[in-house]
C-alpha cells in the first residue's frame, strides 16, 4: 500500500475537519475535489507530516508520518497554491540547490547538480535569473523542479493552478503528466483531473464519492448544482 490513511480524525481551530477517514491510495494519479473547507488541504498536509492526526495513523510509502516525520520531505514533495510563498531564494539556481544542500550536499556539488538539472529541463537560462523576473507559470514550474530535484516518490499539490493563466496551466499539466511519481492533487480545476486514475470527493471531512473521475465528477457537479440552486 503506497498511502494508507487509517481511522484518521483531525481537528483544527476547534473544528473537526476530518472524521475517522479511511483511505488506501495505490493509484498513480489521484485527485481530490470538494468545496472550500471540505478537508482537502488538511488531508494533503497529513501526507507529508505538516499536520499529524489527532487519532489514527497515516503511512506514506512505508513511512509512518508520526514516527518518521524527519524522513518525509525526502519522499514527499509538496507544491503549494502560491509559488510566491514557497520560493525562498532570489535566483532559480539557488532555489534548486537549497533542497540538495538540505539533503547533505556541499555548496559546490549542490550548485553543480542544480545547474545540470535546470539544463536538463530546458531551463538553463533561468540559472542566474532573478526569480522576480519569472512569470507566475515559470515560478510554479520552478517550484516543481525544486521538488523533483530531490527525487520524491510522491508529489502532493494543493491548488497548483490558482495563479496560472490557461497557457501556463496547460504547460504545467503536461509536465505533471510526464512525471513517473505518484501524484495526489487537490484542485477546483475539475477538467485538469479528468484523466486521473482516481478521484476522491471530500465533503465536510468525510468521503462523499470515490472512484473514476467520470463518475465522481458527475456526482460532485450534480451536488454543487443542487446546492447552488435558489
Amino acid at each position: 500500500m503506497t498511502i494508507a490513511v487509517k481511522d484518521v480524525t483531525l481537528a483544527r481551530n476547534g473544528r473537526t475537519v476530518l472524521h475517522q477517514l479511511n483511505l488506501n491510495m495505490d493509484e498513480r494519479r489521484i485527485g481530490l475535489v470538494g468545496v472550500n473547507g471540505a478537508g482537502k488541504s488538511s488531508l494533503l498536509r497529513l501526507l507529508n507530516g505538516l499536520l499529524l492526526p489527532d487519532q489514527g495513523q497515516v503511512t506514506v510509502h512505508g513511512l509512518d508520518t508520526q514516527a518518521s516525520r524527519a524522513q518525509l520531505p525526502g519522499s514527499v514533495g509538496f507544491i503549494f497554491q502560491n509559488p510566491e510563498h514557497q520560493i525562498v531564494f532570489p535566483t532559480s539556481l539557488e532555489e534548486i540547490a537549497f533542497g540538495l544542500r538540505e539533503r547533505g550536499l556541499d555548496a559546490k556539488a549542490a550548485t553543480a547538480v542544480a545547474r545540470d538539472f535546470l539544463t536538463r529541463h530546458n531551463c538553463a537560462d533561468w540559472c542566474e535569473r532573478s526569480v522576480a523576473e519569472l512569470s507566475d507559470g515559470q515560478k510554479q514550474h520552478l517550484c516543481i523542479l525544486a521538488v523533483l530535484v530531490c527525487e520524491p516518490a510522491l508529489i502532493v499539490l494543493d491548488e497548483p493552478f490558482s495563479s496560472l493563466d490557461l497557457r501556463a496551466r496547460n504547460m504545467f499539466l503536461r509536465l505533471l503528466a510526464s512525471l513517473p511519481q505518484q501524484i495526489v492533487m487537490a484542485s477546483h480545476d475539475l477538467d485538469a483531473m479528468r484523466d486521473f486514475d482516481r478521484l476522491i470527493w471530500l465533503d465536510d471531512g468525510r468521503v462523499a464519492g470515490d472512484g473514476t473521475p467520470e463518475n465522481v465528477l458527475r456526482a460532485y457537479r450534480a451536488h454543487c448544482d443542487a446546492q447552488a440552486a435558489p
Partner: protein, 209 residues
C-alpha cells in the same frame, strides 16, 4: 534589498561573499567615523560612481528606492531642527552611501554564498542558544521577501485608491500586517515541507492540540 538580484556577472560577482561583507563592515565603520559633510560627500560620490559603473540599469534600480524618500526627508528635517543643516547633510550622505554599498553587496552575491559567509559570524551567538543556520536563513528570507511584501502593500494601496480615489490611510497597516504574518506562516510551512530543520523542528501541528 528592495531590488532583485543582478543576474549579469560583474567584477563584484567574482569576489567572495565573506570579503564583500567584511569590506562593507569596514567602509561602514569608516563612514560612521566621518563627521564632516565634505569628506562624506566625496565618499558618497565615489560609492555612487562604483554603483553606477557596476550595476546594469542602475538608474532604474535606484528608482525602486523611492519609497524610502519620505523617511530620508523626515530624518533630514529632524536633524536640521536638532543639529543644523551641516549635520543633517552629513547624516543623509552617510545613510544613502551605506544603503548603496549594502545594495551593491546583496545585488552581486548569491544568497547561498551569503548564508555560508554569515554562518561563522552567527556561530558566535551559539552560547545564547541561537542556531547559526536558522539565523542565516532568516537573513536570506528577509532579503527575498522585501520585494514580495512591498508588492503586497502596492496591491492594497491600489485597491484602496480604486475604491476611494484617496491616498491610503494608516489604518490600512493593520490588515497589511495581518497579510504579512500570513505570508510568514506560508513561507515557514513551505520550508518545513522541504525538510528545513525537520529533525529539530518543534513546529508539529496537531490541529488545535
Amino acid at each position: 534589498m528592495i531590488a532583485p538580484h543582478v543576474a549579469q556577472q560583474t567584477w563584484l560577482h567574482r569576489i567572495g561573499a565573506g570579503t564583500k561583507l567584511l569590506a562593507l563592515a569596514v567602509v561602514s565603520i569608516l563612514l560612521g567615523w566621518m563627521s564632516e559633510w565634505v569628506p562624506l560627500l566625496i565618499a558618497f560620490v565615489v560609492i555612487l560612481g562604483v554603483y553606477i559603473v557596476t550595476i546594469p540599469s542602475a538608474g532604474t534600480r535606484l528608482k525602486l528606492y523611492r519609497p524610502l524618500l519620505p523617511l530620508l526627508v523626515g530624518i533630514g528635517l529632524l536633524q536640521i531642527y536638532a543639529s543644523g543643516w551641516e549635520i543633517a547633510l552629513a547624516t543623509l550622505l552617510r545613510l544613502v552611501a551605506m544603503m548603496a554599498l549594502a545594495d551593491l553587496v546583496t545585488a552581486t552575491t548569491p544568497m547561498l554564498d551569503m548564508m555560508d559567509a554569515l554562518q561563522p559570524v552567527f556561530r558566535l551567538l551559539r552560547p545564547l542558544g541561537l542556531d547559526e543556520r536558522r539565523l542565516s536563513l532568516a537573513v536570506a528570507l528577509m532579503l527575498r521577501f522585501i520585494p514580495v511584501i512591498m508588492s503586497e502593500w502596492g496591491k492594497r494601496e491600489e485597491a484602496w485608491r480604486a475604491r476611494t480615489g484617496r491616498r491610503p490611510p494608516l489604518r490600512l497597516l493593520a490588515p497589511f500586517l495581518s497579510d504579512v504574518l500570513r505570508l510568514a506562516d506560508h513561507a515557514s510551512e513551505a520550508l518545513t515541507a522541504r525538510g528545513f530543520d525537520m529533525a529539530r523542528s518543534d513546529r508539529v501541528d496537531r490541529g488545535t492540540r
